[in-house]
């Protein structure tokens, strides 16, 4: 195997350096999940322009970085939002951010949801838990160009009513023309009069024209597995199925090796994939 060395020129900005951005607001969505709203300086707005599905590396000075999907409107790169689950050291410090404080941002990185390919089709968005966060930019994009798409369905499942994200927006979206929002929880309480059960149950409540439908999924892998089985059963062509995958990320540029899933690097080949790209491995244990 005789190889020629292959060296290509660098990109224009250094993807390894975090850029300080000011916090505008921290909002609690649930008892352990919050949304960080940031305002890059106007002159740097273009730097953080992103596509729905991409993520940033958020840096807390001296503590570390985490990979978080961007969950704001792609048409407003001057107001970047990240919805974050407070679970470790970095996210705990992030959750205490005050207005005017700075965090470091590297990005955006990764592949994006196929909102162009979905034009002219019905779109089903299926979100589980915090999986709604990386899908919210899709919804903004679809609603902004409403006429370019057919029916839009959002199916959203969470653990309990108190774990639901973006409740005000869910209400607003459900009122839009040709948009169905169906929400379910695994366990309800006395005040909850909505659906209770797994998110796949919700398929009984929506009509679907499979050949003309694009599906976008995000949530825990096992939830996506069952959802895919259900969509397959209903005749959705697998090339119309897209999902966002999660793995441990450190460098975000395809060098540290942590985010590998089979031959794919989730940070640069993903996090959004079409199902056929992953079907060889999806659902298999500990890939």
């Amino acid at each position: 195997m005789k190889m020629e060395p292959v060296l290509v020129p660098q990109t224009s900005f250094d993807p390894m350096l975090p850029f300080p951005v000011a916090i505008r607001r921290t909002t609690w969505e649930t008892d352990d999940t919050f949304t960080l709203l940031m305002e890059p300086p106007a002159a740097d707005g273009a730097r953080f322009k992103f596509l729905p599905g991409q993520f940033n590396m958020l840096y807390v000075f001296g503590v570390g970085e985490v990979a978080i999907s961007i969950s704001s409107d792609p048409q407003k790169p001057n107001l970047i939002a990240h919805t974050i689950h407070r679970v470790g050291t970095v996210t705990t410090v992030l959750s205490r951010s005050k207005r005017g404080e700075f965090i470091g941002v590297r990005g955006p990185f990764g592949s994006s949801w196929p909102i162009e390919k979905a034009k002219g089709m019905d779109v089903i968005v299926v979100a589980g838990g915090i999986g709604l966060a990386p899908l919210r930019p899709v919804l903004y994009s679809l609603f902004r160009r409403r006429k370019d798409y057919g029916r839009i369905v959002l199916m959203y499942g969470a653990r309990s009513p108190l774990d639901l994200l973006y409740r005000v927006e869910l209400e607003q979206w459900s009122k839009l023309d040709g948009v169905d929002v169906v929400v379910t929880v695994d366990r309800g309480d006395s005040s909850w009069k909505g659906h209770v059960g797994v998110v796949t149950n919700l398929f009984s409540y929506i009509k679907m024209d499979p050949p003309a439908t694009m599906a976008m999924l995000c949530g825990p892998e096992v939830m996506m597995k069952f959802t895919i089985q259900e969509l397959e059963r209903r005749g959705l062509p697998l090339e119309h199925l897209h999902l966002s995958m999660e793995r441990n990320m450190k460098c975000a540029v395809g060098f540290c090796g942590h985010c590998q899933y089979g031959p794919k690097f989730i940070c640069k080949d993903g996090p959004v994939f079409s199902f056929p790209q992953l079907s060889q491995f999806f659902g298999k244990g500990e890939i």
């Binding site: 060098f255 090796g257 690097f265």
Partner: protein, 378 residues
């Protein structure tokens, strides 16, 4: 200067001097702590003259040779990645400021060492080419690797003996060095003769060679050198049926053999440390006590560690079997999809340095159901 030339052993030092005059830091093999490692060498006296190594599964011993060959050994625990892709690298420094913090890259514009690698084997040169692809061929490239790589001068050495765990022939990576060297040497020690058959592979190699005393190589010199390399190819310590290995591994991705290996694997990460192509790293933040200055460091990591695939919701590779599978399947299968070649160069280091005696050639072939061959060798 295209034809090979004859370089007498006593003039090897002149080669080192010529490189040092040009500002290169000459790094090469030297004996330390009972093995042959790569470090700065100041003269030919630092080379492992008259030493050889005996390698087998979980075994490495140095032994005295019956001659004074400079390069009469095979792959030690070090590989050239320690120079091109250092095990610890400061990436940036951040300092608290009125606008949060200021970040300064420690890699862009950093001083780049000029290395001359003395004694690069065919398998190792292939490993360098593989890492060229890993760090240089994607959307993002690693500036430290590229800068060091561009400067690095390669004095390659054709192997004239096969190691106990070598299988470069199976991986089509040796024992003869391919393209990409500046100077190559084949050492011949025979009767009263001790010389190198030297070939030049680049413009700068040619320039350096001008300053080293050499003479025309006779036909018998060439035959002697070629003969040794050809003979080496027939005495590989291991074999691996590499053809179609990727597809066969993927077909057997859930083989019960993984559980078997898991009973033996200690996840000690020796294999990934010694492997010349493994590239996984971790990113670490370090602060001073005052909390005003922070540094970000990159260090070698290994897919064998427990936390490697950990995420907020759990751990994708909690079990030992899945981590061993990840390493082997990445090396022999996924790598091909990612970078266009196998990740394995058949150097045998992982076999030698695994304390549990796990052998990649045995395991890969067991997983896909190939009968193990009797190991060849003297």
């Amino acid at each position: 200067m295209n034809a090979p030339v004859r370089l007498e052993a006593e003039h090897l030092g002149a080669l080192l001097e010529a490189l040092k005059r040009r500002g290169y830091t000459t790094v090469g093999p030297t004996v330390r702590d009972g093995c042959i490692v790569y470090d700065e060498i100041y003269s030919t006296a630092d080379l492992p003259v008259g030493w050889t190594d005996e390698q087998e599964s979980a075994t490495y011993r140095l032994k005295r040779r019956d001659n004074e060959a400079y390069f009469g050994y095979n792959a030690g625990p070090d590989s050239w990645k320690k120079f091109l892709y250092p095990s610890s690298l400061k990436l940036l420094t951040a300092r608290k400021s009125s606008k949060g913090f200021e970040v300064c890259s420690e890699t862009n514009g950093a001083e780049v060492p000029s290395y001359a690698f003395i004694g690069v084997r065919a398998c190792e040169l292939n490993a360098i080419h593989i890492q060229d692809r890993v760090f240089g061929s994607g959307q993002f490239t690693d500036p430290t690797y590229r800068a060091r790589r561009e400067k690095a001068f390669v004095v390659a050495v054709n192997c004239t003996q096969a190691g106990g765990t070598c299988f470069c022939v199976s991986m089509n990576t040796g024992p003869r060095v391919g393209d990409g060297f500046d100077i190559s040497l084949t050492e011949v020690v025979r009767d009263e003769n001790h010389f190198f058959l030297a070939a030049v592979g680049s413009g700068r190699g040619s320039e350096v060679m001008e300053e080293v005393p050499h003479s025309a190589a006779g036909e018998s010199d060439v035959d002697a050198a070629e003969g040794l390399v050809n003979e080496t190819a027939l005495h590989m310590g291991r074999e691996l049926a590499a053809d179609g290995m990727k597809d066969r591994l993927l077909t057997h991705i859930e083989s019960p053999r993984w559980d078997d290996v898991a009973k033996r694997c200690l996840t000690c990460t020796n294999c990934t440390l010694v492997c010349p192509t493994c590239f996984c790293s971790m990113i670490e933040e370090v602060t001073d006590l005052g909390g005003t200055t922070a540094e970000r460091w990159r260090r070698w990591d290994s897919c064998f560690t427990l936390d490697f695939a950990k995420v907020a919701g759990g751990n994708f590779r909690y079990s030992v079997w899945s981590r061993y599978r990840q390493w082997l399947t990445h090396k022999l299968a996924y790598w091909i999809d990612q970078f266009g070649t196998s990740g394995c160069v058949g150097c045998g280091r992982c076999i030698t340095w695994c304390p549990a005696g796990i052998d990649i050639t045995v395991e890969a072939q067991a997983v896909v159901g190939v009968e193990p061959q009797e190991p060849k060798g003297d």
